[in-house]
């Protein structure tokens, strides 16, 4: 294949990575931005989304699109409910102390992972894509489903952005992010906001996983990469900055696609981690984060 079409293919692959990554990373960024909690279990919420999608796909009879549509609803809702429980049983009891919650979410990470190993097993299992349409370009054919993933992620992110900037709930979340104490003094139930944000963050990760699993497989250890890449994205973009997270997800996703195809996926990860190091040294608040 000539260089041009090969580059186009790499960019398209990168765009798919960026789409899934941005969903996972926005969730992580929201949780840190509003709650100041570094959620190390975020990757496991992603994994659970994929695993639940597999369970739903085996339980819902009929065409693949029906099972997929059911998984798109069931997985984020169940994962969000689990996250709300984690908030109530763990994070709230630690008064959202930043250091304590890091340790606690490491514990939650292992609990979810080992529960998945026990009840789902060690095998990687496929989930069928809802349709098998292909886009035929002059140089190569490309999965129509992957393009759907990009479109769906774009729509979800647009909805999140509109929700944050145009709705009353978004206003309340932004106010809580700025000053938790003053927010309470204006009648905002900060505990409820935190629970909602933690559930939303986990639900977004699960949604990303449901979209991702038909082009990958569901596996109990699949949460590691999204967690690492999400941290890379939110550190580069600026913790708590939605705009920064989206831009960084695009940069990391596209560079991951291009470098992985032209060189190797390992080199892509090395360069992304190097970029994080540079950002932490020269602009610790991230490219779009506000200086504290």
């Amino acid at each position: 294949m000539a260089f041009g079409p090969f580059l186009l293919l790499a960019l398209m692959e990168g765009l798919v990575t960026a789409a899934v990554l941005s969903l996972a990373a926005v969730g992580l960024s929201l949780v840190f931005g509003v709650m100041r909690v570094v959620n190390v279990a975020h990757g496991e919420f992603f994994m659970l989304g994929a695993v639940i999608a597999w369970f739903v796909s085996t339980m819902v009879p009929g065409p693949a699109w029906l099972a997929f549509a059911a998984a798109l609803i069931v997985a984020p809702v169940l994962v969000a409910a689990l996250a709300a429980m984690v908030d109530g049983l763990v994070l709230k009891r630690l008064s959202y102390n930043p250091e304590a919650t890091i340790l606690a979410t490491i514990g939650v990470m292992y609990m979810i992972q080992q529960a998945a190993l026990s009840y789902y097993g060690p095998d990687a299992r496929p989930v069928l894509a809802p349709f098998s349409w292909r886009l035929q370009l002059p140089w190569f054919g490309y999965s129509g489903y992957k393009l759907f993933v990009v479109l769906a992620a774009g729509l979800v992110l647009l909805a999140v952005w509109l929700g944050l900037t145009r709705s009353k709930a978004g206003l309340v979340m932004r106010a809580t992010q700025v000053d938790r104490e003053v927010a309470q003094a204006f009648g905002i139930n900060v505990g409820l906001v935190y629970r909602g944000v933690f559930a939303l963050g986990a639900g977004l990760a699960a949604l990303g996983a449901v979209l991702y699993v038909p082009i990958s497989q569901a596996h109990y250890l699949m949460g590691h990469d999204p967690l690492l890449l999400s941290f890379i994205v939110v550190i580069i973009g600026g913790l708590g900055s939605l705009r920064g997270t989206l831009v960084a997800a695009l940069v990391i996703g596209l560079s991951d696609g291009v470098i992985s195809m032209f060189f190797s996926p390992t080199l892509a990860k090395i360069l992304a981690t190097l970029l994080v190091g540079l950002v932490l040294v020269f602009r610790p608040q991230g490219l779009f984060g506000a200086k504290e």
């Binding site: 206003l171 932004r174 700025v178 000053d179 003053v182 003094a185 204006f186 009648g187 506000a290």
Partner: protein, 231 residues
């Protein structure tokens, strides 16, 4: 109206308030004066439920409000304008006012009344709060509190760091509020401002109110100012 009986409160192992008794009446300005660390800000935070009292009782119009979760206190008719303004800086002026009006259902007439009191904010509605001048930020902090339509307004050092024209504006606003029947509790360090606004002055030291004086009985050279404020 607002009554505190034997309030003890603090942070961790430290008890800051050592039994505060205090009353604020509607249509009156009650000033609280005292040196740094006397417990003035902790007192306001305790009234708002942000610091849980360890003993004592706070009532508003006879109903006990101490022990309520902090987010339920403003709904009972209390608004707090914190020291240093503490606006929601990245939000616009309009959004800050909207947060203020969350509990009241965003009544347009309330917002209109507040903007009449501080007309300069009307020109800045779409401006980010953090980009306002110090005086405008203080106006917004008070306006945000007034959107709650409070029965009691707690103001923590509202004139701190402001130029004289702004101090006069804040003073006039406080007096207007007083005339509408709002009970104003004002933490203030400027003697001149206190004498212009206050009906009664509570002098705090070491976490308790040591003297309660009718403002008319105080002059700028009153010994209480030297003893409790150090001026």
């Amino acid at each position: 109206m607002l009554e505190l009986k034997g309030i003890r409160a603090g942070y961790g192992a430290v008890t800051v308030l050592q039994g505060v008794d205090f009353t604020a009446k509607s249509g009156e300005v009650t000033c609280i004066m005292g040196r740094n660390g006397a417990g003035k800000t902790t007192l306001l935070k305790t009234i708002m439920g942000l610091v849980a009292p360890r003993a004592g009782e706070i009532t508003l119009e006879g109903a006990v409000i101490s022990g309520l979760p902090a987010h339920q206190v403003p709904g009972r008719g209390l608004a707090w304008v914190p020291q240093g303004r503490r606006l929601f800086g990245p939000l616009t002026v309009a959004e800050n006012l909207e947060i203020g009006g969350l509990l009241g259902g965003h009544k347009p007439q309330v917002k209109e009344r507040v903007l009449e009191l501080f007309p300069r904010l009307r020109e800045r509605l779409n401006q980010q709060a953090s980009t306002l001048s110090g005086g405008e930020q203080q106006m917004l902090a008070i306006a945000r509190g007034l959107c709650l339509e409070p029965k009691v307004l707690l103001l923590d050092e509202p004139t701190e760091g402001l130029q004289p024209s702004m101090i006069a504006l804040i003073r006039d606003s406080v007096l207007q509020l007083k005339a509408t029947g709002v009970a104003v509790v004002l933490v203030e360090q400027r003697v001149e401002a206190v004498l212009q606004m206050a009906d009664q002055v509570a002098f705090m030291a070491q976490g308790a109110i040591r003297a309660m004086v009718v403002a008319q009985q105080l002059s700028p050279n009153a010994p209480e100012f030297a003893e409790f404020v150090g001026v």
